[in-house]
Symmetry: C2
Subunit: 510 residues, 2 copies
């Protein structure tokens, strides 16, 4: 399929009339055709109007219809073939195997929600039968979940497939029965357009109302802000920076009718290396750790950006091996020139904090926009005294906090901001009281706790929680990955004393 540079408004393609935007290959700073144009208020209004019109029929489609729709999107994405992978590689600098893997994940997410729909648990059906003899009599009461209404999804830069146009937010919102308007991420407009074509075609193939899917472009923030403020919109899905997420939260809270924003924002994913685990094989742990830190140039929400360990010979050996591995590593192209700049300035700013030192750094980069992986160090007292040391540097950067006591490790756990994940490395010999005390604190700070693993790699399944207390996300009661992500776009409705013929089909005969 050809790239046209046009937005998707229902079944039509519309050229924006605003500021130009164009993808840049971050590996060589070359602009990539075509040129896109920012959409304007009238396009926002039209897309929202179509989404509102589509909501009535779409929310009433049965589970099987929506499941087939999700599967059709998945098939259409696969049919895009290598053109999708090549465009995504050019726009993001991510390597082929990563993008092929991410495409698989995207397709599997769509299929997972098809399965969720067929199983029907998402409906949350409850039934309290009438008790006519009771005083006062109890009426027949049944309830089920229904979709909240049209949803805006912001494409994320770091997962151009799995958290972008047809990613987890879109898949779960469409599964719930909500029309979706995507605000395409400006860093990968071509990838977005290809997936948008797959989605728009699936709407037609499944004979759905055209307003079920639209997608707009913007070089700036106007379109996103206007979408979140539009009265037709009932919820927002966002993955990105804390600054971006909190800006959307403020717009949503200031509406005449406030709406929920599900923003997945920032996390430094602390890992506590308990001394037994460190002593067991410090070199192996260092290698595994640096692998996780460097995966995807560290451009993951779950990048392990904070290490906490006790000083001693084992930690020294860990540092030595991590340093060797970092110094022997190659540069990796980051997603955009802007992200590479932000990485460098974030790292400089962190290194300039009192008591922070550079421990090790990858060799000087050879190409534009590459990430020079870095490990910094500080002491527990400095870390506890300076909340700004918890700021995320997006990319392959980590801060090692060296502790003199278990009490300091516990104090660090206690003082953490909300996180997506928190981990412990331990052995059978580890002091189980210390582990339990750490877990006790980390449970209240993170959405996912992991033992002897690394946070990168987020499984898409029922038990997954990709969420966590603010500022990891805007709403720690939810997850943006896994089957429970659909719950974000549902609300319950109770039906009292309904004759069978007027009940929704799902509630008849239950």
């Amino acid at each position: 399929m050809k790239l046209t540079g046009q937005a998707f408004i229902g079944a039509t393609r519309v050229a924006g009339q605003g500021d130009a935007l164009q993808a840049i290959d971050p590996a060589n700073n070359t602009p990539l055709d075509p040129v896109y144009a920012s959409n304007q208020t009238r396009d926002v209004d039209r897309a929202c109007e179509l989404a509102q019109q589509a909501f009535r029929p779409y929310r009433k489609t049965d589970s099987e219809t929506r499941a087939r729709f999700l599967e059709t999107i998945a098939e259409n994405i696969l049919e895009l073939g290598d053109a999708l992978i090549e465009r995504a590689m050019a726009e993001t600098g991510l390597p082929r195997p990563r993008l092929e893997g991410e495409r698989g994940r995207t397709v599997n997410q769509l299929k997972l929600f098809a399965e969720v729909l067929r199983k029907g648990l998402w409906l949350g059906i409850e039934h309290d039968p009438a008790l006519g003899e009771r005083t006062p009599p109890r009426p027949d009461l049944r309830s089920r979940n229904i979709p909240v209404g049209p949803v805006v999804v912001f494409g994320a830069s770091n997962f151009p497939l799995a958290f972008s146009v047809a990613g987890g937010d879109t898949a779960s919102a469409l599964a719930a029965g909500c029309p979706v308007i995507v605000k395409a991420h400006p860093a990968h407009p071509g990838t977005s357009e290809l997936v948008g074509q797959a989605l728009q075609r699936a709407v037609q193939q499944c004979d759905l109302d055209e307003g079920v899917f639209s997608m707009l472009f913007d070089a700036g923030h106007n379109v996103g802000a206007a979408l979140v403020a539009h009265p037709a919109i009932k919820a927002v899905g966002f993955t990105g920076s804390r600054k971006g997420g909190t800006a959307l939260m403020a717009i949503a809270a200031a509406r005449p009718e406030p709406i929920p924003v599900y923003a997945e924002m920032s996390s430094i994913n602390p890992l506590f290396l308990l001394t037994d685990a460190l002593e067991a094989d410090p070199e192996a742990l260092a290698e595994q750790y640096v692998d996780s830190l460097q995966m995807g140039a560290g451009q993951f929400c779950t990048n392990p950006g904070l290490l906490i360990a006790r000083t001693g010979p084992a930690l020294d050996r860990f540092i030595t091996r991590a340093t060797e591995k970092l110094q022997g590593s190659q540069g990796q192209t980051m997603l955009t020139p802007g992200i590479a700049q932000a990485y460098n300035s974030g790292l400089t700013s962190l290194a300039e904090q009192p008591g922070v030192e550079l421990i090790a750094r990858a060799p000087d980069v050879q190409s534009p926009n590459q990430c020079q992986s870095s490990l910094l160090g500080t002491g527990a007292e400095q870390f506890l005294a300076q909340p700004e040391l918890q700021s995320e540097v997006f990319g392959s950067a980590a801060l090692l906090v060296q502790c003199d006591s278990d009490a300091q490790m516990l104090a660090i756990a206690e003082g953490l901001e909300g996180q997506l994940t928190a981990g412990l490395h331990l052995t059978d010999q580890t002091d189980s009281a210390l582990a339990a005390e750490l877990i006790d604190r980390l449970e209240t700070k993170a959405g996912r706790l992991l033992i002897n693993g690394f946070p990168t790699g987020v499984e898409v399944c029922s038990a997954m929680v990709h969420g966590g207390p603010y500022p990891a996300t805007s709403d720690g009661r939810t997850t943006s990955v896994g089957t429970r992500a659909i719950d974000r776009f549902l609300r319950p409705v109770c039906y009292q004393n309904f004759p069978e013929a007027l009940l929704p089909l799902e509630l008849r005969g239950v």
Copy 2:
């Protein structure tokens, strides 16, 4: 038990040092002893500190311990005996049978959440076992819900027992494992103190940490605002006015760490009388309707404040009978002088809107603070043109919108704000297409839909939804009545690759 006028801060009783507040018997405007005093910032800080301290042990108590705690609160409330009912009657003007019924409901709510705890579904347990052979291998992933943290509950004026100190919000938050700080409603401080004693004693009897329960008083808004802003607080439960609820939402959204506010605010609970149902027996329908309208002087969130029907002889007969019944009714004392004044001014303001006329009114009142039940009327065009006609007048007041066509009824359904409930009266002969069209629109507007009934009377059960889109509540994804109310105070946590000994008990061997 004696009333002391003191607040509850953990296990201690503390006299406030701020402005005085005193209950007033609304039946005769007599102040009721003792005099209470507003708490101050240091009391807020101390209660929050204790709640935070209590959270760690309390959240780890097992389901059985918390179930017994809730049952002990229920027993202690019953042990207060007639003193509680008499004090509540004096403070609220509500009649004895209503308050005895409400006490039963309060006790049953506590017992219901004890049952919810024992059944264990609230834990939301999921398990995706390890797939070691897969590439990449899947780790073992288990998840469960944990409590969010200390919760602030605002006592409601209109349910001095069932939505106040030990009401639905408190019961569900305590069940979830959250310590609770109650901001007592200033209209019934004595009732609050009695129930507070029952709660404080239950904390001691069950050997729980003292910070599990505190209760503060305030003549104004400072204590409530400071509680919602306090960093230890993680969620808020509120039942009251739209002005109060939105003020709390704004405070919560502006915190460095925003928190959810579950505010149940305003609803006019539209009832659509379809012509068949009206024609079947207009007089009987009018009598049942006026009974619902006058129940509790209309001081319910579910008061049926909006009637929609087609003009014609049947509606004329309905109006005639409703008028007779209203004119033959007696005044009922409202909860407070302030509520009675607001009722009168709200009614005056509604009656002064263009195109609104007074249809019928109860006889002039004979005692202070009585509600003079009123039925007003307007046309569909006027209603559709004036959004302010949807404003709630808290008390026994209703607006009848007379329509000339089914299309107007559908337009009214379409234009409604979010509601707690919406109802239809119909018969087997009713045009089923019209009913389906109305239901289709009302489903997106309300939390509970009812056929051939009246919204007053909210069953406490699993299928109940006492919620609905804004402005009925701040969060239409939730309910404040029924078993699902506990979900408001929970968030999921995932445990990856945990050895059995470190897993929470509930997740072992699942």
